[in-house]
Structure formats: C-alpha cells, structure tokens
C-alpha cells in the first residue's frame, strides 16, 4: 500500500489473507478436517447458494441455453491511491472475481465512472488495474471520466467512447450517454468546478444527460446494417429511460434512442451509473442496471421502475455491502440472464424471462427488510 494509514478494511484484509495463507500450509489431514467442519456449518445453517457466481446449468427450455457470457465491473470512482485506498481495493477485488471465473467470460464490460474527478492519475490508475483483467475489456465512459477535459484523456487511453461490434451473432452498441448541455461557459466555471458539479448527484446545477443528435444519427446508420432479427445489446452509462430527474438518473433523449431500437425483436440495454439492482422493461427493451464497486446509491424517492426488485438498505458498517460486480449470460434467444454478484450477500439472478414476461415468471427473491 505504501500508506502509513491502515484502515479497518485494510487490517481486515490482511487478517483474511493471513488466514488463507495458513490454510494453504495445512497438511491434507488437517485440511479435510477444516473442510468437513465448514461443510457441516454450511449445512447446519441451511445456507445453499441458489446460483453461484460460477456458470450454472440452466433448464434447456426454448432459447434459455447460454450462448456465451460476459462479466462486468462498473462505477469504480477511483481517486489516486494515496488519497483513497478504499475504492482501489474494491476494483482490485472485482478484478480478482472476474479473473477467477471458470470458464472465463468472452469479455469484460467496464461500465463507466472509472475515475472520480476525471484526473489523469485517476484514469491512468484505472487503466493500469484493468490491464490485469485476463479477458478482453470493453470500455464505456461515465460522466466522472469526462467533464474535466471533456474526455480528452479518456479517448487517448481507451479510444472512441461510442462504437459497435458483433460477437457470436449478437450486435453490440456502446454509447456515450453522459453528454450534457453547456452549463459552464456562461457561468465562467473552471474545468474542475464543472467536473465537481457533474460529480454531484443532488445539486441541480447541471444539465441532464443525453446521447445527442450526432450520436443518434451515428447509431441509426450503424443499426441500418443490422438484420431486425439479430439480438441487439446496448451499453450505456446512464439508464436509457427516465427514472429520477433530480439525481440525473435520467437520459433526456431516451425516447428518441428507444425509438431507434424499437424495430428490433430482442433488445437489451445494460447500464451503470445508478449503483443498485435495477430492472425495467419498456416495450421490446429490457434494461439492466449494474452494481458499483465503490458505494451503493439509495433508491430514488419516486420513478422506480415497477419490475425492480429492490435490494434492502446496505449495512453502512460494511464497506462492500450493496456493492459488487456481475455477469450476463447471453442466451440463445438473444436476451440476457443477469447475475448480480453482491459481495456481502447471496448472488441474485434477474432472468430474461422475468423481464420478458413483465414480471409474471421467474421473479427474483425479494428481501423482507425495508430498503428505505
């Protein structure tokens, strides 16, 4: 770490590492004893993970067989390590998670907000850490990466923020959905002031997110080449619908973007930004929100999509509760089963059939506790 400050989390992880090192030193006999006791405890508590983070065999119904999988890491909000090691530790944990997947995902989607304030050392630190991901990484931009230098360094590190690609019969579109109308020039704001305003959720000083006319035109032309029967998966940092305007859980031109996706039979939008379990279905489009590694946002006081199964209030005493990463299993049908790998809880799968049936089938388990 190099820091003289050691947080409670750091100490916890040191103890944890020491514990696992000790385990490795156990001889076979002692190992069997420990394993036996652990299995006994698990059975005794009635703990059985319904769907583990590893690939599972799903019922081979119509189009529900996985075609391939990709994993995601999102909203890491990195500061440079000597200022804040908390969020750095979280992304490292996420990288370990996806590197441990067996079989490996076809690629890993990074869902945006790599940096907290768009600083060069934040973005470079993130880029460096993501290099240790074994699978190829697909990058998406978030507002925290963009508004200091209007994406200059991000583009230098990762290329264009909007692009498309085809993979195993699925057409993927990656959008930069965090553009905002100029609220800074007239107020004569410095780049850092602009960045800080955009980084806040509840200030009401900024404009709302949008994909913008130019990018919509690009998307239209890109989609014109795609057969309407081809499954389309869109990656967008902000949710491509209107959830809660005061916190920018919102994309102003969402309706126009949705209109472009309407002719396609199977459409999925995967988004970051909201740091919470979030599911929505609008017409033919399924929307899945991704978890953050840094911190969970509370649910907005209104506008929550009705198909969302809320996670209950995270425990503030646990750094990782309510945070995590996840995996999408792209099914033969072209839709995705979404696995939320919550670090301090049982994983939750939101199935394609749940969204496609408008909540009538395969409802994910609901918590009994309030979400506040």
């Amino acid at each position: 770490m190099g820091n003289k400050f050691r947080s409670i989390e750091t100490k916890h992880h040191e103890e944890r590492d020491a514990f696992f090192k000790d385990l490795q030193r156990l001889d076979r006999r002692a190992f069997m004893r420990v394993a036996g006791i652990s299995a006994g405890i698990v059975a005794g508590l009635g703990l059985r993970t319904p769907h583990s983070f590893q690939l599972v065999n799903v019922a081979e119904a119509q189009g529900t067989k996985p075609r391939f999988s990709f994993a995601y890491i999102s909203d890491t909000h990195l500061y440079e390590q000597k200022l804040n090691d908390r969020f750095v530790r979280a992304i490292l944990k996420a990288v370990d998670d996806v590197n441990a997947l067996d079989p490996q995902p076809d690629f890993v989607l990074f869902g945006g907000d790599l940096a907290q304030l768009g600083q060069a050392n934040e973005l470079k630190l993130g880029a460096q850490i993501l290099k240790s991901v074994k699978a190829p990484v697909k990058m998406m931009v978030g507002e925290h990466d963009w508004f200091l230098d209007m994406g200059e360094l991000w583009r230098e590190l990762f290329g264009a923020p909007n692009y498309s690609f085809d993979h195993k019969g699925v057409h993927f579109v990656v959008l930069n959905s965090i553009l905002e109308k100029d609220f800074w020039t007239e107020k004569k704001l410095t780049p850092m002031e602009r960045m800080k305003i955009v980084a806040g959720l509840d200030n009401g000083l900024q404009s709302r997110f949008e994909v913008g006319g130019a990018q919509r035109e690009w998307m239209k032309q890109d989609l014109a080449k795609v057969d309407k029967k081809t499954p389309v998966i869109v990656f967008s940092h902000s949710p491509l619908y209107k959830y809660y305007k005061p916190w920018n859980f919102w994309t102003d031109d969402a309706d126009e973007v949705q209109a472009l996706l309407k002719p396609f039979e199977k459409v999925t939008v995967i988004h970051g930004h909201t740091h919470q379990l979030l599911s929505n279905q609008i017409g033919n489009i399924s929307f899945h929100g991704m978890l953050s590694t840094a911190w969970p946002w509370p649910y907005a006081p209104e506008g929550l999509p009705k198909l969302t199964v809320q996670m209950n209030r995270p425990d503030p005493f646990s750094q990782f509760d309510g945070c995590g990463n996840g995996r999408m299993d792209v099914l033969e049908s072209g839709l995705v089963d979404k696995l939320y790998n919550l670090w301090e809880r049982n994983p939750i799968t939101v199935r394609a059939s749940y969204l496609a049936s408008n909540g009538r089938q395969d409802a994910p388990p609901r918590t009994k506790l309030p979400s506040y």
Binding site: S7, D85, R86, L201, N203, P246, P298
Partner: protein, 276 residues
C-alpha cells in the same frame, strides 16, 4: 463580564434558565443576525443579584443574594411571582392566562437529616379539558401533526394576548435564520474537506438529498455500535469510518448545521424513534 441571568416565565410558571440562543457561527460570512435590543439590567449597589424579565424592561433586585450565588427554589418562585406582578401592573389589559395550580406548590416537607434528597414532587400540570375540543376546527392535537398547524394559521387565536404576538417581520427573520442554518449544513454535507474527511468522500456520495439518513428513527439501539445512538452519533460514525475524519463535538457548528440539514430534508416524515 458579570453573571447575567434571564428568567423566563412561561405560562406554566415553570422556571428555566436559558442561555443566549444564537446561531452557530462558522468561519464563513453569513447574513447578519437581526439586532436584538439588549436588556440593560441595573447594577445593584450592594452587589446583589439582579434578575431581568424577558419583556426586556422589568428587573428586580434580590435582597440578600449576591451576584453569582444560586437561588433556592423558594426564592426563585418568589422572584418570578414578583416580576410577573410587576409586569401585569405595566400591562393591565394583557389577556394573561391565570396562574396554573402548579405555582401554588405545597409546602415541602421539612428537610430530612438523612443526606441528600430529591426535590419536592411537583403536582402534574392540569390539562385543559378535552384538549382542543372546544376550538373551532378541532385545534392541534398531539396526533394531528403539521397539517393542523397550518389550518390554524390565520385563525386569530392570539387575539388580545400581548405576550406571544409576533409580526410578519419576526416570522421572516425566523424563516431566514433557519434557512441559513440548513444551507450551512447543506454545504458541510457536500464538502469532503469541510467535514474533515481525508479520503475525499463526502456525505452526499452515499446520501443524495440526505436520503437513507432517516433521522426520524433516532434515538435507537444501533446494533453495530452496541448502544443507543443519536443521529449525531451516526454522523460521527460516518465521519470516522467511510469519510475517515475526526469526530465532531456535539456543539460543533458543523455538527449542528448538518443535523439541521438532515432534519430539514425529512420534513413531514412521522417521528418514529427506535425504528430498526
């Protein structure tokens, strides 16, 4: 600066000692506080205690009690009674509530010789019959909450009641002062440096618009702390842990302002202390 004592004589004739009520002042400039007329209490020639009434004019010298000495309960009751009499003479038309029964406290039993004893039991303040029942529109009941207060505004319930009458200007000053206090809390809540954080984490990062702070549930047993916590205890927990700063003192202006902001954001939420 000599010891000054303000004697607040309320309708319940209960005695309370109130310190100066002032806005917590931070390092930054704030809208100037409205000037309050100072009650110049005359100085006693013999160095006796002088007590001022909260009307800002009436005062009384307490014979035999020196400045800085404590009044006994009996002396205090006598002083407050005399001050009230003086005030009623100056305001003969005041529609003052009649002195409640509690003022005529029974003679305390002779002091016991067996060490300290608790103060004499005070009889329960008599309640008005059928609280608020006789009022037009039902009045404000303990269970009626903020809605009914609004309904009553405009009803001329303060008519003829000199004490407690206030002007629109007063109300504007109160509202502006409260707003300034809440705004200060808003500022601290959104600024990692101001709140004393060392990892650039500010309160709003997890609590936009103070959501998920649920101040209305305090005090409550906080399982993770192993004790009953007030809102400020949890604010300090957050400052110490995710924010990694130093906890604030209870009377730190930043703590007071943040509490104000958090409560302001939950206006209208029913108080549900102890909620899990």
């Amino acid at each position: 600066m000599t010891f000054r004592m303000k004697l607040i004589v309320g309708t319940g004739a209960l005695l309370s000692f109130a310190g100066g009520v002032a806005l917590a002042s931070g390092p930054e400039a704030r809208p100037p506080a409205p000037e309050v007329k100072k009650h110049a209490v005359p100085v006693s020639k013999d160095g006796d205690l002088v007590v001022g009434l909260c009307d800002g004019e009436t005062s009384l010298e307490v014979d035999g009690v020196k400045e800085g000495q404590k009044l006994t309960r009996e002396q205090a009751l006598r002083v407050s009674g005399a001050l009230m009499e003086e005030w009623l003479k100056k305001n003969p038309d005041a529609n003052w509530d009649p002195a409640p029964v509690v003022a005529q406290a029974p003679t305390p039993p002779p002091p016991s010789t067996q060490g300290p004893r608790s103060p004499p039991a005070v009889p329960r303040t008599p309640e008005k019959p059928a609280s608020g029942g006789a009022m037009v529109g039902g009045g404000v009941k303990p269970e009626s909450g903020g809605k009914d207060v609004k309904k009553q505004q405009g009803a001329a319930i303060q008519d003829g009641h000199t004490y407690g009458a206030f002007s629109e200007r007063d109300e504007a000053i109160w509202a502006a002062s409260t707003q300034a206090f809440v705004e200060e809390g808003n500022r601290v809540f959104h600024d990692a440096e101001l709140v004393g954080g060392t990892v650039a984490v500010s309160c709003d990062m997890c609590h936009p618009d103070a959501s998920n702070t649920h101040p209305e549930t305090y005090p409550k047993y906080q399982v993770q702390l192993g004790r009953v916590a007030l809102l400020r205890d949890m604010i300090n927990w957050c400052i110490e842990n995710p924010v990694r700063g130093k906890p604030l003192a209870d009377d730190d202006p930043k703590m007071r302002a943040m509490e104000a902001y958090i409560y302001a954001k939950r206006k209208g939420t029913p108080l549900e202390y102890g909620k899990k």
